[in-house]
Amino acid sequence: MMKKLVAFFFAALVATAAVQAQEAPDALIMQVTEEVLDIIRKDKDIQSGNTHKAIELVDKKVLPHFNFQHMTALAVGKDWKKASPQQQQQLSAEFRTLLVRTYSNALTGYMNQKIIYKPFKMNPGETDVLVRTEVLQPGSKPVQLDYSLEKLDAGWKVYDMTVAGISLVTNYRDQFGQEVRNGGIDGLIATITAKNKSLEANLAKVDKK
C-alpha cells in the first residue's frame, strides 16, 4: 500500500513538474522559436522568400500563442472602448493579417541568426511577464527581441513584441489614432483592409513572375 502511495505521489509530482515546465513563459518562447527556426532552416522555399509558405508557418505554429484581441486593443489605445464588439472583432482580424504579413516577411530574411535566451526570473503567481531574447547575426550588432506575455485560462499568450525597443504593436498607435480622427473606427477598419488588399495584390504579382 505504502509503495503504491509513494509511486502515486511521485507520478503526480513528475506530472505537475512537466505541466509547469510546459507552461513557463520563457520555456514556451524558446520552444516555439526553436521549432519555427528549425523548420525554416530546412525549408529552401521560405529562405528564398516564399511569403505564402512563411505565412502558413506563422499561422500554424506562432499564432496560437498570441492574443490578438489584446494586441489590437493596445495598438488602438483609447479609441478601443469606442468600438462595438463587432468592430473590435473586425479590427482584430485585419490587424492580425497585417502583422502576420510583416512578421512572416522578417522570417523569409532569416539567415544564420542565432537566438540567445536571456536569464528569466518570475515570482510565483505573476500573470504578466517579459521574456527577453537577443538575435545574433554574423557581422552585425545583436538585436534585442522581447516578448510580453500574459497568463490566461488557455495558458501564456504573447500580447506584445519589441524589436530593438520598438513595439510592433504600440508603434501603430498614432497612425491608428489619426485614422480614427479622420474617419472613425470604420475608417480605420477600411484603411487596414485596403492596406491588406494591396499587399495581397502585390504578392499575387510576384507569384505570377
Partner: protein, 241 residues
C-alpha cells in the same frame, strides 16, 4: 529609411543642421498644433520627402551595390572597424552618465580590438564577453535631464529630436572619423560608414514599406521608441497602456 537606426552622416550635414535650425526658429511658431511629440510636422514631412528622393536615387542604389559586391568578411570588418573607432566616445559618454564600469568595458574593448583585433577589424572583445554599448551625447544629455524638445527629420542624417540633433553635432567632435586628416580621407571614411550603415538597413526597408499605414509616422514612432530604449539601456520603464 536613411538613418532610422544608425548614425549616418555626410560632409555637408553640419552646415545643413545649422541652416535647418534657423529655418525652424523662423517657422516653428506657426505649426503649434497636432501631435505634441511632433511640433514641426509640416517641416519634417517636407524634409522626409526630400530624403525619400535622395534615398531612392542615390543612397539606396549605392548601398545595394555595396551589399552585393562586398563579401561578408569585408562587410563585417568594415562594421567592426567603425564600431571600434566609436568605442572611445562611447566610453566617454558612459563615464559622463556615471556608468564607470561600462566606461571601463568600452575602453577595454577599444584596447583589445585595436591590438589583438588588428586595428578593430575583428571584434575580439565581444567574443571575450565584453559587451558593446550604445551611447552618444544625446543620451548623455537625456540622462542629465535635458528634454527631447520635439521630433525633427533631417535629410541624410535622418530622424533626431532637437536634443539629439545638438547631441549629434557634439558627437561629430568626439568622433575620431570626423577628425581624420587629410580631409579627403576623412570624407572617404564618412562615406564608407554611411554606405555601410545604409546597407545594414536594407532588410528593414521592405518591412517598413509593408507594415506602415503612414511611413513617415511609422518611422517617427519607431525612432522615438528606440531612443527611449537606448536612453534606459534596454530597460525602459513601462508606459501606461
Amino acid at each position: 529609411m536613411i538613418g532610422m537606426l544608425g548614425v549616418p552622416e555626410t560632409i555637408y550635414c553640419r552646415k545643413l543642421l545649422a541652416g535647418g535650425f534657423l529655418a525652424l526658429a523662423l517657422c516653428g511658431n506657426a505649426m503649434a498644433e497636432g501631435n505634441p511629440r511632433d511640433p514641426y510636422e509640416g517641416f519634417n514631412r517636407a524634409m522626409f520627402s526630400v530624403n525619400e528622393a535622395v534615398d531612392k536615387y542615390a543612397a539606396k542604389p549605392i548601398a545595394r551595390v555595396y551589399e552585393s559586391v562586398a563579401p561578408l568578411p569585408v562587410k563585417a570588418g568594415v562594421g567592426n572597424f567603425f564600431g571600434n573607432v566609436g568605442d572611445l566616445w562611447i566610453g566617454a559618454n558612459s563615464a559622463m552618465q556615471g556608468k564607470f564600469s561600462d566606461a571601463g568595458v568600452d575602453i577595454s574593448r577599444l584596447l583589445i580590438n585595436s591590438t589583438i583585433g588588428i586595428f578593430g577589424l575583428f571584434d575580439v572583445a565581444s567574443e571575450l564577453g565584453l559587451e558593446k554599448h550604445e551611447e552618444d551625447f544625446g543620451q548623455t544629455m537625456a540622462v542629465w535631464g535635458v528634454r527631447d524638445g520635439g521630433y525633427l527629420f533631417w535629410p541624410i542624417i535622418g530622424p533626431r529630436t532637437v536634443r539629439d540633433s545638438a547631441g549629434w553635432f557634439i558627437d561629430s567632435y568626439g568622433d575620431p572619423v570626423w577628425r581624420a586628416r587629410p580631409i579627403a580621407s576623412r570624407n572617404s571614411l564618412l562615406t564608407l560608414r554611411f554606405v555601410d550603415i545604409r546597407a545594414s538597413l536594407l532588410p528593414a526597408d521592405k518591412v517598413v514599406e509593408e507594415a506602415a499605414l503612414d511611413k513617415y509616422a511609422y518611422i517617427r514612432d519607431a525612432y522615438l521608441q528606440r531612443r527611449r530604449n537606448q536612453i534606459f539601456d534596454g530597460r525602459p520603464p513601462r508606459l501606461d497602456d
